[in-house]
């Protein structure tokens, strides 16, 4: 195979790629394939080119083909509306990895003719115009050759644009234009400000909206503002946008090529030939890169991904990014790149991987806005957290996401800062297509139990369990239906470990013995929330997880998207939950009045009344109240089934604990602190 192009040897401190010192942008050739997500998805799904197609994400049209557009399909349209306008529409799922993988042949085709190709994103690449223009004797000629080359090699249609600076070049490519040297600003002036918000990676909707409301409808009007005014009123991102609107390079010309030692390298032994394994390696490498960069107070804006294969071939690809890369953004790009190299095949497994920050900017050098709220506090908080991550490591800063589960401990997933909070919860929550709350394949208990306090007993799938069973009486919930929180419980059998024996409500035996559809147990666990609206279930079940978008680099700017799902798990403890959940359960002893340890006579029956709680090394503390026990049988169908029994105890000094009986003893799994 062809060896990849190697960029010129880096020179410390030298301006990059002929970017002149006054900040005027270099001449850029942008090559853009319209509607790339659709093109890639259609290629992948073998949809013929004449059939209208659209890529949907979260039930909205993300991109559509020209034929679909002719039928009235537009970006942002709901699936149903799009299909109503165009019944024969091929609906395709969004998949950034596929987009990146299928774009690789296009890049290779361009690279045969011109060096220094950078991928801006799948579907759009940029290269310095000087080389091809000089070689082919003119911009028009160069454009023709490149378009022909791509069409001949890959069958992909694309357009080119020439201008000073990437931003103008991309806009020119969308229009198939060549902007004359030095006239980018004039070219940009009549265009609307919404052109600033075209990059999928950067969310400038608020800025564009604000500008429009201020009466600045064109890029020219926006460019007419004084830079100092923009900086002081609209925030850091607006400064970049303003530079773009003026036809300048988005970043001030102080950027410098970082010294070589910032590159991080990894020997892969054994050689990696699978994408997931490569992505795993890439993760560690990206974290190392970002630690190094953070140590130098730099962020990376252009990333070089370099790999050596078993056959000795060296592969290099440069990704340019609209905003400084986050660790997860880096991982994404490395994964996409490795994916396309590995699936292309022919060069064998990767034995060595190196990430080079090709271009860096000083981290946080741009001052935040004095006015407005362009996600300012989020950015500020994000930066603080990244700094803590640099101190302690990326895993040290986490946010919590609620997931399915029955115990306070297992209902929380801690996500390292910067990772996608939604990832995983798609399969963990009831967002599954089936609506089943199954965090793992075996998550849906056969022995489902309702909330403690709700008169539902363990369901057993064995038929005999359908018969009345003497053991199922629930102290404290004796036939009164759902327990109201403020009820003062004085069951008939108070003081007796076995409270009054009252038959189960009639509905329960009906459930027993038949494997339940997922919805039924959910409802069964719900009576306590019966008065409350139940939007979570309805919302979540309507969202198939398969088209959920994978990680992007901004996990936080989207409070709307970051709703914490609260799946209804039968058998989970109702609110209030313990405010402290010990990372490791603490073993304790529970003693009866006679000083003997309290055990279980049956799953839902203690063998004596608990009186004293002893934590190893501490004097015993007297109990003043207790509730339960509530058995929980999970995963009985898998080997190593374990049954847990939970009780809540209130100590005489006011402390309340959640205890679990497991492996023959009691553990503190929650402190109502």
């Amino acid at each position: 195979m062809r060896p990849r192009d190697e960029r010129g040897a880096p020179v410390d401190g030298a301006p990059v790629d002929g970017a002149s010192v006054d900040g005027a942008a270099e001449r850029v050739l942008a090559l853009w394939s319209p509607d790339w997500p659709v093109t890639a998805a259609a290629l992948g799904a073998h949809v013929p080119a004449h059939r209208p197609a659209a890529v949907l994400h979260a039930n909205r049209v993300l991109a559509c083909s020209a034929t679909a557009r002719a039928h009235g399909v537009r970006r942002g349209l709901r699936r149903r509306d799009a299909q109503a306008r165009c019944p024969e529409l091929a609906v395709l799922a969004s998949d950034p990895e596929r987009d990146a993988r299928l774009f690789e042949p296009v890049v290779v085709a361009v690279e045969e003719l011109a060096p220094g190709v950078e991928i801006v994103r799948p579907g759009l690449l940029a290269l310095p115009a000087k080389g091809p223009v000089g070689w082919f004797g003119g911009e028009r000629e160069a454009a023709e050759r490149l378009i022909d080359q791509v069409a001949a090699r890959t069958g992909v249609e694309c357009q080119t644009g020439f201008a000073d600076g990437l931003f103008a070049a991309v806009l020119a490519a969308r229009r198939g234009l060549g902007v004359e040297l030095g006239r980018s600003r004039e070219f940009l002036a009549p265009l609307g400000v919404e052109e600033l918000d075209r990059e999928p990676d950067v969310d400038r909707a608020e800025l564009v909206d604000l500008l429009r409301r201020l009466g600045l409808r064109s890029l020219g009007a926006f460019a007419g503002l004084a830079p100092a005014d923009v900086a002081s009123r609209f925030g850091a991102d607006a400064v970049l946008a303003h530079r773009l609107a003026r036809g300048l390079d988005p970043r001030p010309p102080v950027r410098r090529r970082p010294p070589e030692e910032l590159a991080v390298e990894l020997e892969l032994d054994p050689p990696v030939d699978r994408v997931d394994a490569a992505a795993f390696a890439a993760r560690a490498l990206a974290e190392r890169l970002h630690t190094t960069l953070a140590g130098h107070a730099l962020s990376c804006t252009r990333l070089g991904v370099w790999a050596r294969t078993e056959s000795g071939e060296e592969l290099l690809r440069i990704w340019r990014c609209a905003e400084p890369l986050t660790p997860s953004g880096t991982v994404d790009r490395v994964r996409w790149q490795l994916d396309s190299w590995l699936t292309r095949g022919g060069s064998g497994a990767v034995v060595r991987l190196r990430l080079t920050p090709e271009e860096t900017v000083t981290a946080g050098a741009l001052q935040m806005g004095l006015w407005g709220e362009v996600g300012e506090s989020d950015e500020r908080a994000g930066r603080a957290l990244v700094r803590v991550q640099a101190l302690l490591g990326p895993e040290a800063v986490v946010t919590a996401v609620l997931t399915g589960g029955r115990d306070p401990g297992e209902r929380v997933r801690l996500v390292p800062w910067g990772d996608d909070r939604a990832a995983g919860s798609g399969s963990a929550g009831p967002g599954d297509l089936t609506g089943a709350p199954a965090p793992e394949p075996i998550g849906l208990g056969g022995h489902l139990r309702a909330d403690p306090g709700v008169p539902v007993r363990p369901l057993r799938v064995v038929p005999s369990a359908a018969e009345p069973d003497a053991r199922v009486h629930r102290p404290g919930t004796a036939g009164r239906g759902p327990v109201r929180p403020d009820d003062d419980h004085r069951p008939a059998g108070a003081g007796n470990a076995r409270a009054a024996e009252i038959p189960q409500p009639a509905e329960i035996p009906q459930r027993v013995g038949t494997p339940q559809p997922p919805e039924t147990p959910q409802r069964a666990g719900a009576p306590q929330r019966a008065g409350a609206p139940q939007p979570p279930e309805a919302l979540q079940s309507s969202q198939p997880s398969s088209i959920r978008r994978p990680t992007r680099s901004r996990p936080l700017r989207t409070p709307k998207a970051a709703k914490d799902p609260v799946p209804a798990w039968p058998g989970r403890l109702p609110a209030p939950s313990p405010a402290t959940v010990p990372p490791e359960p603490l073993p304790v002893e529970l003693l009866g009045v006679d000083g003997r340890p309290v055990g279980l006579r049956a799953l839902d029956l203690l063998d004596s009344e608990p009186h004293l709680l002893v934590l190893a090394g501490h004097p015993g503390r007297e109990l003043s109240a207790w509730a339960g026990p509530w058995p929980l049988q999970q995963r009985w169908w898998a080997g190593g089934a374990h049954t847990e029994v939970r009780i809540q105890v209130v100590l005489a000094d006011g402390a309340a604990l959640l205890l679990v009986h497991r492996e023959g003893r009691w553990w503190v799994t929650g402190i109502y602190d």
């Binding site: 603080a384 109240a625 809540q648 006011g654 309340a656």
Partner: protein
């Protein structure tokens, strides 16, 4: 000297009034909004809201930016902390919690805290001061726990408090924090709902007392459900059960 200061403030007032009138006229008050004024200059409008039941306990009916608040460790401390964070979190403020490895996120969510804006640093190790300093730069509220365990000295505490003042953040300490502006603590804890083998824990009534330096709410107390039903903070029913000093007896009566 004094006259000059007064002049400056009146001019500031004048300028603000003008700005407000212009905004009203253009009916675009949401388009441009003055950023919060730095602490130290004017703390009048710079109070982070807290849940209603806790308001009477705090000097400015909320958490003044730049101040430090300590929550005495013991029963109810974590829930009280959640109560302090809830309202600010619901309004989109950021909170960081340092040194609480066993934070019950479910309880936090039930209390009304938005988990996506609650950053946890469970094990800061020996870098506690550095971590808290970093977080004070970016967060509105920073909770520090385990200061004693980490061997925090008075000097470090002063440094953190000074950074909080400078950045307009609120420093909340779980456990003793000499020099805190406000000190809160729970006492007279009474659980309801659980009997002897019956019911379940439903709510907890506590008496929260506040004290602190200066006249900052010395000796104020409030009866609060912490947590109430559904896990959120609440106020006890209109006819409160008298809190007997021997509160153990009342609990036995519950059972």
């Amino acid at each position: 000297m004094k006259g000059a200061v007064g002049d400056a403030t009146s001019r500031l007032e004048l300028a603000r009034g003008l700005l407000r009138r212009m905004e009203d006229r253009s009916d675009r008050s949401d388009a441009v909004r003055p950023a919060p004024i730095g602490p130290g200059e004017d703390t009048g409008g710079d109070v982070l809201p807290v849940a209603a039941p806790l308001r009477p306990l705090l000097p400015a009916d909320g958490l003044r930016r730049g101040s430090s608040v300590s929550v005495a460790s013991g029963t109810g401390s974590t829930s009280l902390l959640f109560g302090l964070l809830t309202e600010a979190s619901a309004q989109g403020m950021w909170a960081g919690v340092v040194g609480v490895p066993g934070l019950g996120a479910v309880a936090a969510a039930e209390a009304g805290i938005r988990l996506e804006r609650l950053a946890l640093v469970p094990r800061p190790g020996g870098d506690l001061v550095a971590v808290v300093l970093a977080l004070l730069d970016g967060m509105d509220l920073v909770v520090v726990a385990g200061a004693q365990r980490a061997g925090l000295r008075g000097q470090d505490r002063q440094r953190l408090a000074a950074r909080a003042r400078q950045r307009g953040a609120v420093l909340l300490a779980l456990g003793a924090w000499p020099g805190a502006d406000v000190e809160l603590g729970c006492s007279e804890v009474r659980w309801s709902g659980a009997g002897r083998g019956a019911g379940r824990l439903c709510s907890r009534q506590v008496v929260v007392r506040s004290g602190g330096r200066g006249g900052a709410g010395v000796g104020r107390r409030a009866e609060v459900l912490l947590p109430g039903r559904n896990g959120a903070i609440g106020v006890p029913a209109a006819v409160p059960v008298p809190v007997a000093p021997g509160h153990e007896d009342t609990r036995v009566a519950v059972g």
